[in-house]
């Protein structure tokens, strides 16, 4: 599973998250309001996934494993 609820109650993103993972991420965030997103094991995220993070602005546990996401995308998601 690239998107799953982990033992800590956070939504964990792992490996490369494709466009279909956006829907899964969205429903987990809707089912668990206030849940954080742990993307430390994330090796890449499709724009659709980034878009859900942008719209939902969950608390993030990072940095993601992917250097591009860490350098360019994470700062935009943690800035309020």
């Amino acid at each position: 599973m690239t998107v799953a609820l982990n033992d800590a109650g956070a939504v964990a993103l792992s490996d490369v998250c494709g466009p279909d993972d956006a829907e899964a991420l969205l429903s987990l965030l809707l089912a668990h309001p206030g849940a954080a997103v742990d993307w430390r094991a994330c090796e890449g995220a499709h724009t659709a996934v980034i878009q859900v993070l942008l719209a939902g602005r969950p608390a993030l546990a990072g940095p993601p494993r992917d250097a591009f996401l860490a350098q360019w995308v994470e700062p935009l998601l943690s800035a309020r």
Binding site: A22, L26, L30, T47, Q51, V52, A55
Partner: protein, 727 residues
């Protein structure tokens, strides 16, 4: 020329043609939103292409035009003839740049002044209406002011608004920026406002991505160009880095002085250490990229290069390293001929060639097998196998010839699409309202024919407008619509291509043609009187004939129509004329679908030039006349133990022989139909490719002659039918 550049030229020319087409249609109907959109998209794509080639002047000029077209699309700017003229002028300028690029293999360097002139046209247009200010760029301005550090180095501002269905279409917009080394800033914003998560549609792209990029890669530019209207980009000029002052500056100056010292042993080492010192200075000043680039010079760069770089750092002109070099490569072999216009070919036709190549390879391999058989000495088997192979190869070569000829087939659109613009100009200068309709642009013909049709068609169109179409008053009196219609049409008929220019003008004034023909003494009066009206009308094709009452700049120099007939006949076609008084004229070109080019060797015999098909020529021999001996009534000579009959070409073809035979005989040894012969000629000439036309009229059926063609100097070249001669 660089392959990139070549592709750019082809595409740019296609886009210009498309944009011109749309603009002209728009002039007819300014409310045509589809044409306006088409023109806008063509300008947008052209701008993107110019960006990819780093041809900033062209991108700037096109951007100005695109802005105004965008305003027109948004209804903020009316579509006026002035706007269309300005847009066409912009395209003219671009064509000039493209021509210069094609000629030199590089984008022109001093195009900025010309670009400024174009930009001013559109600023003027935009200034008439304050609403139409280039709003497009405001986002870029905001982006730059939000990131001053990056702004100093940015060369490109990009705004990417993915289409709502982009995800469903398999696009990953952010991935566009992933591998871009020059990425300076990246930002996201919602296309509208982020909806509540409960209402959020994860499959719909609803964000805007903006970015600033230093030295964008060509691949990146290509990708954004491919995204079309989803991406807007603005070219930026990076600000030079600040000059280094104080102790750092002195340190650099010191390095420079050291490098200026005597060259020789250790110069390279000194240059290396100087580069490292300067790199450290830069790194301490927080200019890491520049430091890296300078450090890269430490290993092996020539002292002069390092000194030059240091001087640039001192003056502040040292720019950050480009990610890769985009300098157009200049191909030293690129001669004007090599730069001849390229040809776009249907993939299917190329595939056919690829398949044939495969089959040829197989046939070649089979030959290796035959040679192995020959080594074993089984002569009969070898002969049998060779016969089979020869048959296969013959078939393949024939198919290859056909496939290659097919590559040369072009639609007539290639030539037709140049005329609407030209007719528009003629209409303006002649003040005769007329419109051009084109039909059958998809009709195909050989490239040689399509490309050679432009001039003759232009002459005919000029004549139709100038002489055929009446003035507006005359048309009104005749009850015709004030605007004339000229139709340019093409169609295939069997092996032939018919191209017609039809006008609804006054038709040919036969009485006037008669009068002029008499005055110009084109033929004796009694012969002229005996001609039918149709034959008289045909006299407009006679050399030196011109019916124009006043010489206009458009036509009327009396070179038009006879030049047309010559040009079409050179292509192996003919021109005919149908005219009805008061109703109009049709000029019809009947052309062969393809031009058969034959390679011939030219020879002279009895003061006439003959062509011998190259495929028949075995060799040329020069030998003392006494080696030619009489055999009965015929003559022959011995060539490598074989007796070869000699045919005196001049005599055989009924030409006069020189009084005294030369001491040395020139012989062309040729073969046809399984026979071999030495053709005695006076002189051997060049090899050339000629378009062979069958003999017509009185010459038809001349024995031993397969066809004729015109030489560049106007002489007639008779191409020999060796099959017949060697019988």
């Amino acid at each position: 020329m660089n392959e990139f550049l070549e592709q750019f030229l082809i595409e740019a020319r296609e886009l210009i043609e498309q944009a011109t087409d749309d603009l002209l249609a728009l002039e007819e109907d300014p409310a045509d939103a589809e044409r306006l959109g088409g023109a806008f998209r063509a300008f947008h794509t052209l701008k993107g292409a110019a960006g990819i080639m780093e041809f900033t002047a062209m991108a700037r000029a096109l951007h100005a035009a695109e802005d105004v077209l965008a305003a027109a699309r948004a209804g903020e700017e009316p579509v006026t003839p002035a706007l269309i003229s300005d847009a066409l002028t912009c395209l003219d300028q671009v064509v000039q740049w493209l021509d210069a690029t094609e000629a030199s293999g590089e984008t022109p360097v001093n195009a900025d002044a010309e670009a400024d002139a174009i930009v001013r046209r559109f600023v003027r247009v935009a200034a008439l209406d304050p609403v139409a200010e280039p709003q497009e760029d405001r986002w870029a301005q905001a982006l730059l002011s939000g990131a001053p550090d990056a702004a100093a180095r940015a060369e490109l501002a990009v705004r990417y608004i993915p289409h709502p269905d982009a995800f469903l279409d398999g696009e990953d917009p952010v991935a566009l920026f992933r591998d871009e080394p020059g990425l300076l800033t990246l930002a996201f914003s919602p296309a509208g406002a982020w909806p509540d998560l409960a209402d959020f549609d994860a499959f719909r792209a609803q964000l805007v991505i903006t970015a600033l990029i230093a030295s964008p890669t060509a691949a990146f530019r290509e990708r954004i160009a491919a995204l079309g209207e989803q991406v807007d980009s603005v070219e930026l000029t990076p600000q030079p880095a600040p000059a280094l002052a104080g102790p750092a500056g002195e340190l650099l100056q010191g390095q420079l002085e050291m490098l200026a010292g005597a060259a020789g042993d250790g110069a390279a080492g000194r240059a290396g250490s100087a580069a490292i010192v300067v790199a450290n200075v830069l790194r301490r000043s927080g200019r890491a990229d520049e430091a890296d680039r300078m450090a890269s010079l430490a290993a092996g760069a020539a002292p002069a290069v390092v000194a030059d770089a240091i001087r640039q750092v001192i003056s502040g002109a040292w720019a950050p390293a480009p990610a890769e070099s985009h300098e157009p490569e200049i191909d030293p072999k690129a001669t004007p001929e090599a730069m001849a216009r390229s040809l776009r070919v249907d993939v299917e036709r190329v595939d056919a060639l690829v398949n044939l190549t495969g089959e040829l390879t197989i046939a070649t391999n089979a030959l290796a097998h035959v040679s192995a058989m020959a080594a074993e000495g089984d002569v009969e088997a070898v002969a049998r196998a060779l016969r089979g192979q020869h048959g296969d190869l013959e078939r393949l070569v024939r198919e290859l010839q056909r496939a290659v000829l097919n590559l040369r087939v072009l639609p007539l659109r290639q030539v037709f699409q140049r005329f609407p613009r030209l007719v528009r100009e003629m209409v303006v200068s002649l003040e005769k309202p007329a419109r051009l309709l084109t039909e059958g642009e998809a009709t195909e013909a050989d490239k040689t024919i399509v490309e050679a049709l432009f001039e003759p068609l232009l002459h005919v169109l000029r004549n139709a407008l100038d002489h055929g179409v009446e003035s507006a008053e005359v048309r009104a009196a005749a009850g015709k619509p004030p605007s004339a219609t000229i139709t340019l049409r093409a169609r295939s008929e069997g092996d032939q291509v018919i191209v017609e220019v039809e006008d609804d003008g006054g038709g040919i004034d036969v009485a006037r043609v008669r009068e002029i023909a008499a005055r110009r003494e084109l033929m004796p009066a009694d012969e002229l009187a005996a001609l039918s009206d149709v034959e008289v009308a045909d006299l407009i094709f006679a050399p030196g004939f011109s019916t124009a009452r006043t010489v206009t700049t458009i036509s009327g120099r009396g070179v038009g129509m006879d030049a047309v007939r010559t040009a079409v006949e050179r292509l192996g076609g003919r021109v005919s004329l149908h005219s009805e008084a008061g109703l109009g004229t049709i000029v019809r070109f009947t052309l062969p679908f393809s031009v058969m080019m034959s390679r011939v060797m030219t020879v002279e015999a009895g003061d006439q030039v003959f062509g011998i098909p190259m495929e028949a020529v075995l060799e040329t021999v020069r030998l003392p006349r006494d080696r030619i001996v009489g055999v009965g009534t015929a003559q022959a000579f011995v060539l490598r133990d074989r007796t070869v009959p000699v045919i005196d070409l001049a005599q055989t073809l009924g030409r006069a022989r020189p009084a005294t035979p030369r001491a040395q005989a020139n012989l062309v040894v040729a073969t046809a139909g399984g026979r071999i012969a030495g053709l005695e000629v006076d002189r051997l000439g060049d090899r050339m490719d000629v378009m062979l036309k069958p003999l017509q009229g009185l010459l038809a059926g001349t024995p031993g002659v397969a066809g004729a063609t015109l030489l560049g100097d106007g002489r007639v070249l008779l191409v020999l039918d060796l099959q017949e001669l060697l019988q």
